[in-house]
């Protein structure tokens, strides 16, 4: 489609020759007007080979709804403007060329004409009118009064169904999914060894201590909403801890700052008590909403901790400035504290105030680690393999970048191409 929409305007040499004689400019070489790739149908690209007169020329892109006009100015740029290589796109999606000039008409409202490039959505029906046919032409004018005008061509911007610049991340995601699927299959056949995580091994100790002391276990799911994956991970860990709490017949308290997370956690806790064979011990109010205000929540939970002196506190999920306020208060009550977060800025605070801290990906591994379910353990192994591959790539990248920086080997462009493979666009 894109190729079909592309029109190469090579003004006939004979016409050019006669134009020169009459004081007109030579036509720009390889002038193309084509639909922009990787957009939602709002842009066109005008490209041409660098011309000698570009430094003193101005290129004007005109648009019309009919071949005969009326014409409206869509863009006006100096000839010595941007080149194709300026576009931050990778080599497999874009031919970066220092000698090819580029004017990209992208903004919907860049036209001075009566109709925008893309018809506006009808607010009543939520549908757009059919995109009309657009006609384009390019006018080149130099400071010394010479002028050249292309023939009108019809190019209608269309939306693209795949962003080719993102192909690399798409393939990586596919490869990672493949690794996970393979290791899930392996885990179904044989038991996989996974490294020990001290913080999770201490869960039994923490819940046992709470039972002995007759004090509650506090579990916090972080400050983020259910749309955050770390919060989902925190709710999954809650299920495993709630099973242990139910088995030990200890009291569980889960103060919430988000009502949806609370609703999810209520169900998870209920099922955990049922699967532990203690549905009678489940209390609906073990999960309760406090407030969605950051420091209101912190003050309330701190107050409860000081009054009730819990035996164990779990801080899982994503935290902000309240992390230290909560963890220090918990530490002052003498509770065993286990934290797990992917908020790297809060990790030092949890390290300081908690007995055990799950760092980054350990939070996501915790649910599988505690449940010991083969399928979930398989995904853990898959994650580790993915990490090993990443480490290998980092090593290769570091070597290549060093060589590229050195420059003596003439590998700069090769290194740039390799680096582009690992960039997200």
């Amino acid at each position: 489609m894109r190729l079909a929409a592309t029109l190469l305007i090579l003004a006939a040499c004979a016409a050019a020759a006669s134009a020169q004689e009459s004081g007109a400019l030579a036509p720009p070489l390889d002038l193309r007007i084509e639909d922009s790739g990787e957009d939602n149908g709002v842009g066109i690209d005008v490209t041409w080979r660098r011309m000698e007169y570009d430094a003193k020329a101005t290129y004007t892109v005109l648009v019309a709804l009919a071949k005969d006009g009326p014409w409206h100015e869509a863009a006006k740029e100096p000839g010595a403007g941007g080149v194709k290589a300026d576009e931050p796109l990778p080599w497999w999606a874009w031919s970066s060329d220092l000698d090819t000039r580029l004017i990209r008409v992208t903004k919907r409202d860049s036209l001075a004409g009566p109709q925008p490039l893309l018809p506006e959505e009808n607010p009543a029906t939520k549908f757009r009118a059919k995109t009309p046919e657009y006609w384009w032409k390019v006018v080149v004018a130099t400071e010394d009064g010479l002028r050249w005008e292309s023939q009108p061509v019809q190019v209608t911007p269309t939306g693209n169904f795949f962003a080719w610049s993102k192909l690399n991340t798409f393939l990586y995601m596919g490869a990672f999914t493949g690794i996970l699927v393979v290791y899930i299959g392996v885990a179904r056949k044989r038991t996989l060894w996974i490294r020990r995580i001290a913080g999770l091994d201490a869960v039994d100790e923490a819940v046992g201590r709470a039972t002995e002391m007759g004090k509650p276990v506090y579990y916090m799911t972080g400050r983020d909403t259910i749309t955050t994956v770390s919060t989902v991970a925190a709710t999954l860990i809650l299920g495993e801890i709630a099973k242990k709490v139910a088995a030990y017949d200890t009291q569980l308290k889960v103060p919430h700052t988000d009502a949806i997370v609370m609703a999810v956690c209520q169900e998870i806790t209920r099922e955990a008590y049922i699967s532990a064979g203690r549905p009678d011990a489940f209390r609906e109010d073990s999960n309760f909403f406090v407030t969605d205000d950051q420091f209101g929540y912190t003050a309330a939970v701190d107050g409860m901790m000081v009054r009730e002196k819990p035996a164990a506190c779990f801080y899982m999920g994503y935290y902000y400035a309240e992390s230290l306020l909560l963890a220090e208060t918990g530490a002052s009550t003498g509770a065993i504290q286990i934290a797990g977060t992917d908020a790297d800025a809060q990790l030092p605070f949890f390290f300081t105030a908690c007995d055990y801290t799950l760092i980054g990906e350990e939070l996501y591994a915790a649910g599988a680690y505690l449940s010991k379910e083969p399928v979930l353990v398989g995904t853990l192994r898959g994650q580790d393999i993915g990490k090993a591959v990443l480490l290998f790539m980092i090593l290769i990248g570091a070597v290549l970048t060093t060589l590229g920086q050195w420059g003596g080997l003439g590998m700069s462009s090769f290194v740039r191409s390799v680096v582009e493979l690992f960039k997200a666009y």
Binding site: N40, K166, I268
Partner: protein, 329 residues
């Protein structure tokens, strides 16, 4: 029933999960629309879920008040707070300040001046008008070729009166309802700074409570963080081993390096500016520590987190992890 409780949510999760993952790769309007619409759905669900939250808070505190458990008075105060804040919010239409001259839909009309025969300014009237929203939406639906000018109503009016020598003698502010009735009319204190600014917003009762009650409470909690950091730092920086000693030294360099006076001592008193041709001011050392070893460690954590997020998302999308539905299989 099992289908509705287990398979159906898994199907929804799979379909939405795959669609949301793919929309990242599809640059058409369809992809963008899918992303924005699903976030709209989430907002709607959140609004309904807030009733759940309110129910939970009310139930916890009501039980406490009902059973006269220790501290039940504080729980009663929760209800007083809810009623007060909710009432103020409803009365103020959820706005923290009164109408402003230059808000989203309000238009400030050009001032209307009254002058005497010799041209001396006696009175200036500045008014703000607001478009009646109902009429606007109706016009859009009808899509008339040449829509009539939108109907408006006067929201606020400020009348400034001048003495012949140019002094301001009086400034009167009037607030109107949509039907044109005068809701509030009062004289401004012209000795105050900004008294002649056209119709600047003032805190509503809701805004006042937010600014003067909630904000100070939040700030108090946040301020306590400073003390907690000091106590945590004291525990962390005890040099009991080589590693903790290294942490102590690094932390001291970063702490001290962020004090301007240290930089002055470093460069002026010690006269250190360069080392073997490399710039070596105090901020450079701090910058290197923060940007190089610190960033390397954070990126290491970041890689693991990214893989963990992808793995967890895939587990949920493909129904491998289903505990969030309420338990195992």
């Amino acid at each position: 029933m099992i289908f509705l409780k287990r398979q159906f949510p898994l199907l929804i999760c799979f379909a939405i999960g795959v669609a949301m993952a793919l929309q990242y790769y599809v640059p058409t309007t369809l992809g963008q629309k899918l992303a924005s619409q699903t976030s709209d759905w989430y907002i709607i669900i959140t609004i309904f879920a807030s009733f759940l939250g309110f129910g939970s808070v009310a139930s916890v505190h009501w039980r406490k008040v009902n059973a006269r458990r220790p501290g039940w008075g504080y729980s009663a105060l929760v209800f007083v707070g809810i009623v007060l804040m909710l009432g103020a919010g409803i009365i103020s239409e959820g706005k923290p300040t009164t109408e402003r001259a230059h808000d989203e839909q309000g238009t400030e009309l050009p001032p209307v001046d009254e002058r005497d025969a010799s041209g001396v300014l006696l009175k200036r009237t500045i008014a703000t008008e607001r478009i009646i929203p109902d009429l606007v939406s109706k016009e859009i639906v009808e899509e008339t070729a040449a829509p009539p000018p939108p109907k408006t109503f006067k929201v606020l009016e400020l009348v400034i009166e001048y003495a012949p020598d140019g002094r301001v003698t009086k400034a009167t502010e009037t607030k109107y309802s949509r039907s044109g009735a005068v809701l509030l009319k009062r004289d401004r204190d012209i000795s105050k700074e900004g008294a002649l600014l056209p119709l600047e917003g003032e805190p509503t009762s809701f805004g006042w409570m937010y600014q003067n009650m909630l904000n100070p409470l939040q700030s108090t909690m946040f301020a306590m963080l400073g003390f907690y950091i000091a106590s945590a730092a004291f525990r962390s920086f005890r040099a009991k081993s080589f590693h903790s000693g290294l942490l102590l030294v690094t932390a001291l360099v970063v702490l001290i390096g962020n004090v301007p006076f240290t930089n002055h001592i470093w460069s002026e008193w010690f006269g250190i500016h360069h080392l073997r041709g490399v710039r070596l001011e105090m901020p450079d050392i701090v910058g290197w520590l923060m940007n190089t070893p610190n960033t390397a460690a954070r990126r290491g954590v970041g890689f693991g987190v990214a893989l963990g997020i992808i793995a967890t998302s895939l587990k949920i999308i493909f129904g491998i992890e289903r505990a969030y539905l309420g338990g195992g299989d």
